[in-house]
Symmetry: C2
Subunit: 401 residues, 2 copies
């Protein structure tokens, strides 16, 4: 530490505190589009938003083409941009999901020739990635490409295109178009199929020279937590490719588990799926094990949980960390205890040595440092970044003003 | 038709007869290595060989590295060459299985560095493909690449190599080495995994420029015939790549079916698995449906059945077309009835027209034509080939001596 004139500051008491994690603690931001846009919304309330932003530093925004642009030429751009700004103002980064998928597609693609569908798909990618550059710089470039050409998904414009072109050309299309308009974007290849099929696809994609920034691994666990061994075994299979891994869609229920014989989770329909005290205890325990194991894996850079509240949750399942009545479940407290407790460097007073050095240890992320007296006025403190490679190494600060 | 001097032969009676099918009716030739080499053999008898060669025109020979070369530097080349010649002399073409696989590997690969294993694997391919050129010109270049890097298969030299290199480099290795020494060989990418995983792998292989001659699709059906719809649905998924398809390993039991919950067929062990009258009737019916549906598919060029006799059959299952006592099952008669009956042009007398033309209709294959009087002396007759594109077209013969 030096002062503004470059003099070292020996034997000086300073306070170091963490501002953010480098690790992505994500969740879906779907519930806050209304609130962010000043629309009446019973689910996305201010109090839910406060709970959200206290734990999660990344929000996944919905860009399902069929909902984003139900009428051709009238995309929901302004509303999503406002939501993105609203999150950003709360310290939450954004991710877009997805640019290419075969589900929730616009009806106006139906019946068009595949060449026309390809042209429109490419234009949609360029338009939306450009419109959100600087707000949304991380994208699921393509979702579920493994089944894309063969899944019986009802009429939609994309399945025939994928069947005609093949998986790798579809992936190349998504990455090339997104990269062309936002070269610094983080682009993911995201899938729920974590079998050898996805490995084979990845190997083909890498052989064919498509530049992937991260692999997205869905882990919906409505049928029960897989356990650390199975989860890390899976993660290790995909870590072999040397790419960062994002667990893009994790969910754990706080009620009865879905029967194990259901193959497509969408096929399971129940009239009521309540959150129970036993289920909530199990969910909290499973969630903590899930995050602890993944946080310790060197390839995993983000975990996105798929739901903040049970209200309106996917499949009606009690996968939220907050009950439908707005009260946090034990799982919420457990995750907050890790993200803002055990893994968080709360403001810590340290004394510099004779050469003006202080030593801190913390998880990769953003930090600030200031003299004790000035610390509260954070705009006067110095920020620094601890990157993953810096773990357990000292950071020397150039100056304190 | 003309005579030796070039004169047309109008109003002349000739006999046309089929000699062979272009379609590959294959079976394993494993049981005849002893007989072909003059060794005492209780299973591979002359009478079994006669039944075999009356239906099957292609034999798959075993080149499992661990059995072919159990002692390093002492491959079983001469014995396999003799078996290949023995089959060839009976009008049966040969196929080699497999050049690269992770099962039945030599112990002397264990503990060697992967670079050394790769060098030895490459040398083994070049050596064996060269040693058998002209005798064995069709090879399963690589077997079961989908699971190759990840299957828990006990200690073997190939799994670590596949894990280190990846699937597509392993496939490239196999095809490049085999192609280098036998450019006219038919090289197959063969797998039992017929899910999207194999599709993804194929798409990656094609993107990366490896030249595949045919796709090998295993269809062991110890758990019951899949039915025409499921089988052709699967075939259509792989026909999309425009490559010839070989159903390389088909089997149907003539006894109790293996329970449906067995995932790896090798896990099912029973002390006795008898062939039953009911099972034999079902097997014959299933077999006929299987062959009829595949013969009618334009992409399918070969079906290899995986066993001629129940004696010593894989898994002890009654998958043979001949009982352990050497008598043919109904399935044998059913298949022979197609291959040498319904789908076969028996010697047929036809009369040429005023311009010396005769018209025949038959399945793609080899045919001979001679004047009635000389027909029995087949060396004096004219041979011609009907290729698949020639179906239902007339073949004009240049001359009859």
């Amino acid at each position: 530490m030096t002062d503004a004139s470059g003099e070292v500051l020996p034997n000086t008491e300073v306070v170091v505190a963490q501002l953010d994690h480098a690790f992505g603690f994500g969740n879906i931001g779907f519930d806050f589009l209304g609130l962010a846009n000043g629309e009446p919304d019973e689910i996305g309330t201010e109090s839910l938003a406060t709970l959200y932003a206290d734990v999660f530093n990344t929000a996944t925004l919905p860009f399902y083409w069929g909902r984003f642009e139900p009428t051709r030429g009238a995309p929901d751009t302004a509303r999503l941009q406002q939501a993105a700004r609203w999150f950003r103002d709360r310290g939450v980064k954004l991710k877009g999901h997805p640019l290419v998928w075969h589900t929730v597609q616009p009806d106006w693609l139906l019946g068009l020739p595949v060449d026309e569908v390809e042209r429109l798909q490419r234009e949609r990618i360029r338009r939306d990635v450009a419109d959100f550059e600087g707000l949304v710089d991380t994208w699921d470039a393509i979702n579920e490409a493994v089944i894309m050409p063969v899944f019986e998904n009802g009429d939609n414009g994309i399945t025939p295109l994928a069947r005609a072109r093949g998986r790798i050309p579809m992936i190349r299309l998504a990455f090339e178009e997104a990269r062309a308009v936002n070269p610094r974007a983080t682009l993911l290849l995201n899938d729920f199929d974590l079998s050898s099929a996805f490995e084979c696809l990845i190997e083909g994609v890498l052989e064919s020279g498509v530049e992937i920034d991260a692999l997205g691994l869905q882990t919906h666990m409505h049928q029960g937590y897989w356990g650390e061994d199975a989860m890390l075994g899976m993660v290790d299979r995909f870590a072999r490719y040397g790419l960062p891994l994002h667990l893009t869609e994790s969910s754990l229920v706080s009620g009865d588990l879905m029967p194990a014989d259901i193959v497509d989770l969408n096929d399971y329909r129940v009239s009521e799926w309540p959150s129970t005290p036993e289920g909530e205890a199990r969910q909290a325990d499973d969630l903590e094990r899930h995050y602890r194991s993944l946080m310790a894996h060197p390839s995993v850079e983000a975990v996105t949980y798929w739901g903040i509240t049970d209200a309106g949750a996917w499949l009606g399942a009690p996968i939220g960390l907050v009950r439908a009545d707005g009260t946090p479940k034990p799982s919420y407290d457990a995750l907050r205890g890790l993200v803002k407790g055990e893994w968080w460097l709360a403001p810590t007073t340290v004394l510099s040595d004779a050469r003006g050095r202080v030593s801190v240890e913390g998880f990769a992320g953003e930090y600030q440092l200031g003299t004790s007296a000035r610390f509260a006025a954070s705009e006067q403190s110095t920020r620094f970044t601890l990157s993953p490679e810096d773990r357990h190494t000292r950071v020397t600060l150039p100056s304190i003003t």
